[in-house]
């Protein structure tokens, strides 16, 4: 109960902080919307090729906007030494990690909620033509991104080149999550058999589970020094 209470306290604090500062979601949303809009000019109307790549464009917009948000999210902890204060608290340190990861998940999900409808209009695709299953892809993909992104933002935030360091560390590791998410989403965009998406979603869920366990096991050692 104390464990969940600590996670809930951190998430509530982060959401309250964001409601007051509007630093993270607004900047992520602007970046994400701009990416989707700019890439929409590439394709000629009615292009067949378009549908094969737009899933990737959508996920790239989330990933790069997410990196921007992760940096900002961790900066609010580092400024004033707040992260040290969290580490001094009498709670399991993994609860601190999962609190931050859930907050980041919520912020990225907020951006997705606004970006996806715009994406569907601009690219003239209906992701949800076969039902609401793509929501599961977004949830699983965003969770994997939030878990790994939070871990690497904690590692990179104390470096001088944090803006460069985070994508350098995160992107090579996050490839399986992005790849599975894009492949699963493309099946719905291209109108293929939705059953084919299940294997990608299983792979995605597998990576999420592995990353969660690994982070749970190593987080204490990462923050020790």
């Amino acid at each position: 109960m104390k464990y969940l209470g600590s996670i809930s306290a951190i998430v509530s604090k982060d959401v309250l902080h964001e409601l007051k500062s509007r630093e993270i979601v607004v900047s992520m949303l602007l970046f994400s919307v701009l990416t989707v809009v700019v890439f929409s000019f590439i394709f000629e109307p009615g292009s067949q090729f378009k549908n094969e790549v737009v899933g990737g464009i959508l996920w790239m917009s989330f990933v790069f906007a997410g990196i921007l948000g992760l940096n900002k999210s961790m900066m609010s902890e580092v400024t004033g030494g707040n992260f040290s204060a969290l580490l001094l608290a009498p709670v399991d340190r993994s609860a601190i990690f999962f609190g931050k990861a859930i907050s980041n998940f919520i912020f990225i999900a907020m951006v997705e909620i606004f970006t996806i409808p715009l994406f569907m209009v601009l690219y003239n695709v209906n992701i949800f033509a076969y039902g609401a299953m793509p929501v599961v892809i977004f949830l699983l993909g965003t969770y994997g991104f939030a878990i790994l992104g939070t871990l690497f933002s904690i590692i990179s935030v104390n470096t001088r080149t944090r803006e460069v360091m985070l994508p350098l560390l995160l992107l090579p590791i996050i490839v399986p999550v992005i790849l599975s998410s894009v492949q699963a989403l493309n099946i719905y965009i291209l109108g293929h058999d939705p059953a084919d998406a299940v294997k990608w979603m299983q792979l995605l869920a597998g990576f999420d589970a592995i990353f969660t366990v690994v982070v749970f096991a190593v987080f204490d050692f990462i923050v020790e020094d």
């Binding site: 600590s6 004033g80 040290s84 001094l88």
Partner: protein, 236 residues
């Protein structure tokens, strides 16, 4: 016979190739007020970080009531209250929101009542609904004291707490520290202010080059003698 609370046994701490603390052996007794002096980069802050379990030693052992650090539960950290030169506060939140957040993390009972008592003590209750961003350095430090004492810690650790404080905030901090000392709390304070550090302490220590070069009860040394010992230790 004083009761030992924390014991450092040949503790070393390295950050990469930097040897921040070298073979430090020292005992910290219950109810003591230890002032730690030393030049910049001497290893004072590292000593405090090790003391409050923020970082583990590279070698050597730290025992808390004879229990080694790696055998302690997470809840042990609630015995420490840390006041740093950094405020540990979220600038976009109000004082009340900040304190409520930390109170939840430390599982404080009767949160609002406790916050009111402490904010009254540091004369910030009227400003409780103001965003911390608008606070002056002195107000931030007073609020930081409130945050550190919310859970009524047994050991209070202070890292240069007087830095940048005006006279009023300085007086409030001194008054609170004396109340804590009277209340038999154990206090460890790193400071550059010789007078404040000497006056408040029951034991004096000097760290230089990562080594504990002086560790003596205040009763055994006058302020002039200590001044001389400090200059001698630092210039050596």
């Amino acid at each position: 016979m004083p009761e030992t609370l924390v014991e450092f046994k040949k503790v070393n701490k390295k950050y990469g190739h930097i040897h921040a603390l070298r073979d430090v052996s020292v005992s910290l007794n219950k109810g003591e007020f230890v002032s730690v002096f030393g030049p910049n980069g001497a290893g004072k802050s590292t000593f405090l970080k090790l003391l409050c379990t923020m970082t583990p030693p590279t070698s050597g052992q730290i025992l808390y009531e004879n229990t080694p650090l790696n055998k302690l539960q997470d809840s042990f950290r609630s015995r420490f209250g840390v006041i740093s030169h950094q405020p540990f506060l979220y600038s976009e939140l109000t004082a009340l929101e900040n304190l409520r957040f930390y109170a939840k993390l430390y599982d404080v009972q009767n949160i609002d009542e406790r916050i009111k008592v402490l904010l009254d003590k540091v004369e910030l209750y009227k400003r409780r609904n103001d965003k911390v961003r608008g606070y002056s350095r002195g107000m931030l430090q007073r609020l930081s004291i409130t945050r550190a004492l919310l859970h009524d810690p047994e050991i209070v650790v202070l890292d240069e707490p007087y830095t940048g404080l005006d006279t009023h905030a300085s007086d409030i901090l001194t008054r609170i520290l004396m109340e804590l000392f009277d209340d038999h709390k154990t206090i460890v304070m790193v400071t550059h202010n010789m007078k404040q550090g000497y006056d408040a302490a029951s034991r004096l220590a000097i760290i230089k080059g990562g080594q504990l070069v002086f560790n003596e009860q205040k009763a055994n040394i006058s302020v002039q003698e200590f001044d001389e010992r400090y200059i001698e230790a630092v210039s050596r």
